[in-house]
């Protein structure tokens, strides 16, 4: 029985892996329907697993409150938010409120009034983090870092309207049909499309081969540790 328990997931992974790998090459309604069916199953399993997530969330916060862990008050906030949204979703699904923008369900209003501003706040913090990360990255300590700094200044210069306006003040002249110096847009385009794309292409190539090798390891049962079993 133990042997079967270990073997069954490997057989499922192999059969499904080979079948859906081949499905990519077979444009038949039968294989197409099977893929659609499997995707639906995945959504169903995901829905059921959400219950597990809520149980985990519930216990971890109860534990925090019991132990008076640091910032345990936030656990209360979590429970209030969880049960409010749950209650409104179950009992007042169609109840509406009139807001400035028109009629809205209570659930929608709660989401729009609490979740959306909170999400926007988190996203806006990103701007400050980008600035601090850029400050660290663009210190010209080595040759490579200096090159990075120069490239970044040029690209940034072209991306902001003020930079473009300043660059436009530089006098240009024609040499053999070529404009010297080239426009900032052309320089940036070359950096992004030639240097940047070449580097990204190299990284993507490695990633693709890594993905293929990892998939094969899983399909052939060489890599089993994702199932919690290494034997």
């Amino acid at each position: 029985m133990d042997q079967f328990k270990k073997l069954a997931p490997l057989i499922v992974a192999f059969v499904m892996g080979v079948f859906f790998g081949l499905q990519y090459y077979i444009p038949h309604p039968f294989t197409d329907d099977l893929l659609t069916g499997m995707s639906k199953w995945f959504i169903v399993i995901g829905g059921i697993a959400m219950g597990l997530g809520i149980v985990s969330l519930f216990y971890s916060h109860i534990y925090k409150i019991k132990r008076r862990a640091p910032a345990w008050g936030f656990s209360f906030v979590m429970f209030i938010a969880l049960f409010t949204m749950l209650g409104v979703g179950i009992y007042c699904a169609n109840a509406e409120v009139i807001t400035e923008t028109g009629k809205q369900t209570i659930y929608g209003w709660l989401y729009q009034s609490f979740m959306v501003p909170l999400q926007s706040t988190m996203f806006s913090i990103l701007a400050f983090y980008v600035a601090s990360a850029a400050f660290r990255a663009f210190r010209a300590k080595t040759k490579e870092a200096t090159l990075l700094l120069i490239a970044a200044i040029i690209v940034m210069f072209a991306r902001v309207p003020m930079g473009e306006a300043i660059y436009a003040q530089i006098p240009t002249f024609q040499v053999g049909g070529m404009t010297i110096p080239p426009t900032i847009g052309n320089i940036t385009g070359w950096i992004m499309k030639t240097i940047n794309m070449a580097a990204q292409g190299g990284i993507s190539l490695g990633i693709c081969l890594g993905v293929i090798a990892m998939s094969l390891k899983i399909i052939f049962g060489i890599e089993k540790s994702y199932m919690g079993s290494t034997k």
Binding site: L52, S56, Y63, L209, I222, T230
Partner: protein, 473 residues
């Protein structure tokens, strides 16, 4: 005295008669367009490599062609029919076969050929479709009535019975439609292509063409891709068997993975926890699976060093998998007693709520080490920068090329792309897994060779070679 009334009458009569007396103007007909070369080589066939009910029609372009000349493709169920159903109409300078990204062994000659794809089910939709749509709308209405009755605490048993009847009807109709669709697809259809000028004057009519839809067993345009996959599979398997015999395969040093031991050791010395994130994707993403595999190796070290790991999750399935992995790692390290079931826990499914929660935990607990593995989006920098401010040693590994620059800037070590996928083999040093890395290197060499050959042949104006090697992209 002049006779004014007579003169006025004469002028009026003159005006009245002038148009009659003038010779009738002949209607000016436009000069007919002279066709130097008529369209030819008409073909109708099942659209290759699709699983839809499409029919393709192609023909060699006529000369001259212009915006004012239009092609009309007509369809009929009978060869002797009137071909009154217009399936497509377009100016003769559009719809080229060369627009289709088919390799040469699928498309044949592409240049100078027009191409049209017609969906038979759109041309002849099942008769019961309208009835089905009507029933669906009815069911929707009944469902809303039930919802409303529930909210108003009213009796909705009648509506419920109606709903059940409608659902049964829908099932019957859906079966009927699928049978009808199969019948429609099985028939042979007839086509005619007509060239008309802007006055709808027929310039040319093709002979009657016939075709029937077919199920395709293999997508021929992916032939090279399929062969490359077989080749890569064989290479991986060969290198695995080779690695079993030769256990001392060379692996270049990856600093980020060498630093794992240092990070775990640091956490033990400082008596602080380790944070491990598996990314924002679920188990259907290979990067997430790879992150869980690396988690197993790191958890083993955590168990050996008697440290503590915390794995916050966005996806409950990943959480369950990670719980099993950590448990197994502790058992493997001989420390099952030290395992805590709450080390892997669910936070939320929302991207920024998750980020806020994890950042909060990091700020409060000040972890000694933080691992960011898997696929990330906008939250990458938020998590990594927050980790950096807590002073944690940070190791990131990702295949999200857009986020890699942020990780490189904010983390102490970053596993870039393929290094991330090589991590499990590198950490375990199992010959079988190391063998796959060798296969990866061989694959890289193969693709690079294809790139060089492709560039050379492309410069030599041999586009057919691009058809062969483009699947490597």
């Amino acid at each position: 005295m002049r006779n004014y009334p007579a003169m006025i009458l004469l002028v009026i009569l003159l005006f009245l008669f002038i148009p009659i007396s003038l010779p009738a103007q002949e209607s000016v007909s436009p000069t007919p367009i002279a066709i130097a070369e008529t369209p030819s080589e008409f073909q109708a066939y099942d659209t290759p490599n699709d699983c839809l009910s499409n029919i393709s029609i192609s023909w060699k372009a006529m000369s001259p062609e212009s915006e004012s000349i239009q092609y009309v493709v007509s369809i009929d169920k009978s060869a002797d029919g009137k071909f009154e159903q217009e399936a497509d109409k377009f100016p003769s300078v559009y719809n080229w076969k060369s627009d289709k990204e088919w390799p040469f062994w699928v498309s044949g000659t592409k240049e100078g050929y027009h191409y049209v794809e017609l969906n038979i089910l759109q041309q002849f939709p099942p008769l019961t479709q309208a009835e089905l749509n009507k029933k669906k709308a009815e069911l929707q209405k009944v469902r809303s009535e039930i919802e409303k009755a529930k909210l108003d605490n009213k009796d909705y048993s009648e509506a419920n019975t109606k709903k059940l009847v409608l659902m049964d009807d829908l099932k019957i109709l859906e079966n009927k439609i699928s049978k009808e669709k199969a019948e429609i697809k099985a028939k042979t259809y007839y086509f005619k292509v007509t060239a008309v000028d802007k006055n709808n004057q027929v310039l040319f009519t093709s002979p009657v063409l016939s075709a029937q839809t077919q199920n395709n067993g293999f997508n021929q345009s992916l032939l090279i891709n399929f062969l490359a996959m077989i080749f890569l599979c064989a290479t991986v398997l060969w290198f695995i068997s080779h690695a079993k015999k030769n256990k001392n395969l060379f692996l270049r040093r990856i600093n980020g993975l060498d630093a794992v031991e240092e990070a775990v050791g640091r956490a033990t010395e400082m008596g602080r926890s380790i944070f491990y994130m598996t990314g924002i994707t679920d188990m259907s993403d290979i990067a997430c699976i790879c992150a869980t595999v690396i988690l197993g190796k790191i958890s083993e070290k955590v168990a050996q060093y008697d440290s503590q790991i915390k794995v916050p999750h966005r996806d409950p399935i990943v959480m369950t998998v990670c719980q099993e992995i950590i448990k197994e790692a502790y058992i493997k390290a001989g420390r099952p007693d030290a395992y805590k079931s709450d080390s892997s826990f669910y936070v939320t499914g929302d991207q920024f709520a998750y980020t806020a929660a994890v950042n909060g935990m990091m700020m409060r607990e000040k972890p000694a080490a933080s691992f960011l593995m898997g696929s990330y989006a906008a939250e990458a920098l938020l998590l990594a920068e927050c980790g950096a401010t807590t002073g944690a040693i940070q190791i990131a590994g990702s295949d999200s090329t857009d986020q890699l620059p942020f990780f490189i800037t904010t983390c102490d070590y970053t596993l870039i792309g393929e290094e991330f996928y090589a991590a499990s083999a590198y950490l375990s040093r199992e010959p079988v897994l190391v063998g796959t890395l060798k296969a990866q290197d061989f694959g890289k060499l193969f693709v690079l060779a294809a790139l060089v050959i492709g560039a050379v042949f492309s410069l030599a104006h041999m586009p057919w070679i691009i058809d062969i090697i483009k699947d490597f992209s």
